[in-house]
Amino acid sequence: MVTFEMVLFWLTIFIYVGAFALELFGYVGRKGNLQALGINIMWLGFLAHTLLGIMRWINAGHAPVTDAYELNLTGTWFTVLIFLLFIKMGKIQRTIALVVIPITFLVLGYGFVLRTDAIPMGPAFRSPWLIVHVIFAWLAFGCYAIATGAAIMLLKRSSSDGSESLDQTSYRFTVLGFINHAVMLVSGAIWAKKLWGHYWSWDPLETWSLIAFLYYALVLHVRSFWKWNMKRAAWLTVLGLLILAISFWGVKWFSPSPHPGP
């Protein structure tokens, strides 16, 4: 990793940690101004994050979407972007940052541990479907992460004040994540057909991605038809992110797959 890129990486992490600290102190001390400052610091972190992505793009000579570090870099960028945009629109609560920011710097850090060298794009990645597949994968993850953030904050509440709003946020971002997840699967199948000759091979990464998709379909069914909401639905949503984490990062630890992933 080039030195300036390394500096940007750690600056991004440092700023996000700072934003998290402000959010936490603001939340615990019930100081809204600290939380608002935390969000502003998060915007700064996002700027550094964007510069980091651009730097990586220049160093690698291609969009940062091939190796584990690049995928985690891009994925967390999308997560933060979605979160900040919806905060700006006033559609979600600031406290969700208490979950979103740690997810961001943990995923970024994990990517850093795995690999840092920029390499030319291999032939398997030279497809427009890669861009579609990766973008929608990360949009899905970002939405699910925010849904989980809302779910966790709902579970932490001892009173029902504000819980309905968190429950609604959790449901809405689960829906958005589900739609993006579907596009990810569709584009992945089309890409697989062109790259490997068959659209679905039941390889472990594909299968876990489908498991996560089916799980979220289950969550939406349970919410719609059994009217599960609030804490029961929140627990389901938290479990969903764990399953998603397995499908994104955990599969390679116990099942080899020809499928490149984060």
Binding site: G122, A189, H221
Partner: protein, 370 residues
């Protein structure tokens, strides 16, 4: 009864079963992708899971009767649910849009099931390796590997496909960037049908078959003789062994000599001061073959190298490196289910977007949650 078959309760149970079975398929070694010996070894070390897994067919779960039964029930549940929902009266434009989206989404599932069935039952999946100048004939014995769906009755087409030329692009540090294969198809009693080009991510299509490029390597022309009598003369497609982005082209060839004769190709080479061959490029510049004689335990007893156009003596035999071409391997598929799957996929996206569009629109127009 119909209400039960089309109920959300049943749907939730069936989706849960699909999740569990898929998880089993992802965690347990599966027949097909994993070699039988590996599965046997795994089963010995996991006797309890082996018993349960074997009884339920979990070592081939995606082709098991249990999985098929769950899929069929899910299809029935989806169909019934969709019909029942469509007959329920809905009021308001938003409700009509949601119902339409719901119907499209669930219809897409049925189309996907149908496409998956067509793929599993009727497809042909084969693998071929062609050296430049070699012709493939679409017949069973011309495939390296071939499997067909159990309901496939279509006869082999018998068309030919000749690999005219194969080339590869590399980065300065020898990373493979792309492979280009030029294929010439042909049917009996038909003239020149023109060239097709295949690359990684760019399969060639002909007569409903797709030729998906997998790998490339080198085929040296080896002429093996004794007392000026040629024993064999053949292009030998060496295995391409890859570690990271480094490639070695090597294979064991059968000769009358005792032990093993291992040949390794260096497309371009330099000889180090200690006499060790070093690869200096991926493109054939000054190619050389390293010939190693090993015993049956793989211990190399001696080695020689031979440049293109030259020969070496191996005891009373002579091995000549007479030529060099590239080979390319292809996955050959005919899958009648894929077009159906594509329709189902896009229908599903359309259904999802239509179903949730009113909700998302309401969310964006409603006051904030801050």
């Amino acid at each position: 009864m119909l209400e039960f078959i089309g109920s959300a309760r049943l749907a939730i149970v069936l989706v849960s079963l699909l999740i569990l079975l898929s998880a089993a398929g992802a965690l347990l070694p599966q027949e097909g992708p994993v070699q039988p010996a590996e599965i046997a070894a795994w089963r010995v070390s996991h006797p309890a899971w082996s018993f349960i897994g074997g009884y339920l067919g979990l070592f081939k779960v995606f082709h098991s009767p249990l999985f098929l039964a769950v899929i069929l029930l899910t299809a029935l549940n989806t169909l019934t649910c969709t019909i029942l929902q469509l007959f329920k009266r809905k009021n308001g434009g938003g409700a009509i849009i949601k119902t339409t989206g719901f119907a499209l989404l669930h219809l897409s599932l049925l189309v996907l099931f149908a496409g998956g069935f067509a793929s599993t039952a009727f497809s042909l999946d084969g693998y071929i390796v062609l050296t430049e100048g070699q012709q493939f004939s679409e017949r069973p014995n011309h495939y390296v590997r071939l499997s067909k769906g159990p309901l496939r009755t279509a006869t082999h087409r018998g068309f030919t496909m000749k690999l005219e030329r194969c080339s590869a692009e590399y980065s300065p540090d020898w990373r493979l960037l792309q492979i280009h294969a030029q294929l010439r198809p042909g049917l009996k009693n038909q003239g020149d049908t023109g060239l097709l080009t295949a690359g990684i991510n760019h399969p060639a299509e002909y007569s409903g078959f797709s030729f998906t490029l997998d790998q490339t390597g080198f085929s040296p022309l080896i002429r093996f003789s004794k007392d000026n009598r040629v024993i064999f003369e053949s292009y030998i497609a060496l295995k391409t062994l890859q570690e990271g982005h480094f490639r070695e082209y090597r294979d064991t060839i059968r000769t009358p000599l005792p032990g093993k004769t291992i040949i390794t190709l260096f497309p371009d080479h330099a000889l180090a001061a200690d006499g060790v061959l070093k690869k200096t490029g991926e493109e054939p510049g000054d190619p050389v073959l390293l010939v190693e004689m090993a015993d049956n335990n793989g211990n190399v007893n001696w080695h020689r190298h031979v440049k293109l156009g030259e020969s070496i003596e191996l005891g009373s035999y002579r091995l000549e490196f007479a030529g060099l071409r590239r080979w390319a391997s292809f996955r050959v598929m005919e899958d009648p289910g894929y077009p159906i799957i594509l329709i189902g996929l896009w229908l599903g996206i359309a259904g999802l977007v239509t179903r949730y569009a009113p909700d998302v629109a309401e969310w964006f127009t409603s006051p904030g949650n801050e």
